[in-house]
Symmetry: C2
Subunit: 355 residues, 2 copies
């Protein structure tokens, strides 16, 4: 606390990302990173990049990258926004669309950064309880509000809504922006980009951090009507003219030029996920059906916190949220087959000792 | 305009960075970029970077980079904040320290992003007129306010305040944060970091975009008391956990390992600046004494707008601000000797035709 801080900053309760301890090597299954490196085309673009160019500012509008993204998603470049990771794109979206007197609606169990953005921009958060089995019922998101945001698939539950559900949600709130946060969509869902023609209030947010193995470059994007994208541009150009650096633009472009590699790694992760799900179930875990690159799993007997700590001592990091309703569950990133085999083997030992 | 935009976003009047036309090659003297490439150590760090690492999130705290910056500036790492360009660091500073009922004080002629941040965060802007010859008198920044910000040297005037002046300014506002924006300090000024021990309300902001030839990686920093830096961390961790990507962290570190190169390029730019100043004066320009990597110059007879356009047609970009009080001046970035010779030669021709 300090008299120099504004009242807002004194009240903030910042987001805490997954831990990154440096005390020993870990099998890292706690931040939903991709276990595979980015495409060899990314490595080549990195090697070929002329360091002398770094003396210049990057293209403030990321023109070539937005063009390539537009082509991939079948939209106009003016329907594409890019930012310094999807967290920045989310932050700008809160300010551009949700900073209103009415509350923002989002699922009670969801990405834990949403309530932090609400604090940062003075937005009232209305958390909507989930239904049976951590399900989202879109009819719970009707009525007067300042907007709606939800991840699809949801995090950390990994559960997926259908495009029909998303379309119904957009129709329930025609005068408010509905943000669908698709960080994990490439691992088993259909993107709501397909609904944009019929729903001018829909904004879809994606990231290069998960399915494209590029968490290290910080690249997030939004796709929506030209009007919504212009709103994001107004905020961006009032915050930072050049949010996406020259290397991130070049490497993201290179990634988009290798769709085969992208689809191949996504498929491998989905295969590993399904095998890991069966192995966890065989150990007595309850595991939700996942459309993401992680599994949300309840160990036999609950006690997820103790199991998280035991795994950490054994050199395996998973994520445990000490929050009501999910504190007897673990969120386990899908790693390589080898990593998941080690995880299962360690769980077998730990659980048999506990018996 | 759109009903989907929040009232704030409807009112915004975003910042416009220097133009980057792509229709022909230009001698680019309009965005204060460094004419020299970054250190060869940066090029080597780029070549040696393992693209496979990009699948992982970067260190959210930029620990090694903050440690290196702390050593260079003789402060504790907890006194150093880094962000995605100094524009992001400035934006967070406005929210962390200036978002108050009282107005923020800054010079009437100054970095034109400051009033935009005020709009973005709902801060009242009180512009303080300059004195004779575009001078800043620190006693004009006393009285009740929400804080003070000014660039030193000032932009686009290039004029420098002494450390005595900065110390007096900090003492005038002991209960408010004073931000000194030192984007250009390495080209002829003394950093106010030297004053931090005596002024806990002082925050110094710098950038790698100018003197370190790294505008392309987006790296800005703030140095201040641990309390002020903690305030910035609270905002950053409520906005984007990972603002500085893995490559930017690695390349900035490499740049800090080559102080000889850094000092050498700064010296060359200062030498070129002084020669260019004399050449402009010989052509009848009024030129302010500069402590930056640009010159603020009034062409003989004024008519800066016409001259800006004539130079652009001839393939040379300089910056002209169509704003009261400075609209008969040009801001000219100091390029290489060769580029400045071409500029002077073109000015000779253009001005003799105009006679």
């Amino acid at each position: 606390m300090s008299r120099f801080w504004t009242p807002l900053v004194q009240r903030l309760d910042p987001y805490v990302p997954g831990e990154q301890p440096q005390d020993q090597p870990y099998i890292k299954l706690n931040t939903n990173e991709n276990p595979y490196p980015p495409s060899p085309k990314v490595a080549k673009a990195l090697r070929d990049f002329d360091a002398g160019r770094l003396r210049l500012y990057p293209d403030p509008e990321s023109g070539r990258l937005r063009q390539a993204l537009a082509e991939r998603h079948g939209v106009h470049p003016r329907q594409v926004f890019v930012g310094n990771g999807s967290d920045e794109v989310l932050a700008h979206s809160f300010q551009a669309f949700f900073q209103r007197p009415q509350p923002l609606l989002f699922p009670e169990i969801s990405y834990s950064f949403y309530p932090v953005y609400c604090q940062l921009y003075g937005i009232e958060a209305r958390r909507i309880p989930l239904r049976e089995g951590f399900g989202i019922a879109v009819e719970d998101y009707s009525g007067d509000c300042g907007g709606v945001i939800l991840p699809n698939p949801n995090a950390p539950t990994s559960r997926l809504l259908s495009l029909d559900d998303i379309a119904r949600l957009c129709a329930l709130q025609p005068d408010r922006v509905v943000v669908i946060d698709e960080a994990y969509i490439d691992f088993g869902g259909d993107s709501a980009v397909a609904l944009l023609d019929r729903h001018p209030n829909l904004l879809v947010i994606q990231t290069f951090s998960k399915s494209r193995s590029l968490a290290g470059i910080r690249l997030g994007l939004a796709i929506g009507s030209e009007t919504l994208i212009e709103g994001l541009q107004r905020v961006k150009n009032s915050f930072n003219s050049y949010p996406v650096d020259a290397l991130a633009q070049a490497l993201a472009l290179a990634s988009l030029e290798d769709e085969d590699y992208f689809r191949g790694t996504c498929r491998r992760i989905v295969d590993t996920r399904e095998r890991s799900r069966e192995a966890l179930q065989a150990l007595g875990f309850e595991v939700l059906p996942s459309a993401a690159n992680f599994l949300f799993a309840r160990p036999p007997g609950g006690k997820a916190g103790a199991l998280y700590r035991a795994l950490k001592r054994a050199g395996i990091l998973v994520r445990w949220f000490d929050s009501p309703g999910i504190d007897d569950w673990l969120r386990i990133t899908v790693g390589t087959d080898e990593e998941m085999t080690q995880l299962i083997s360690r769980l077998e030992k730990t659980l048999s000792v506990a018996k």
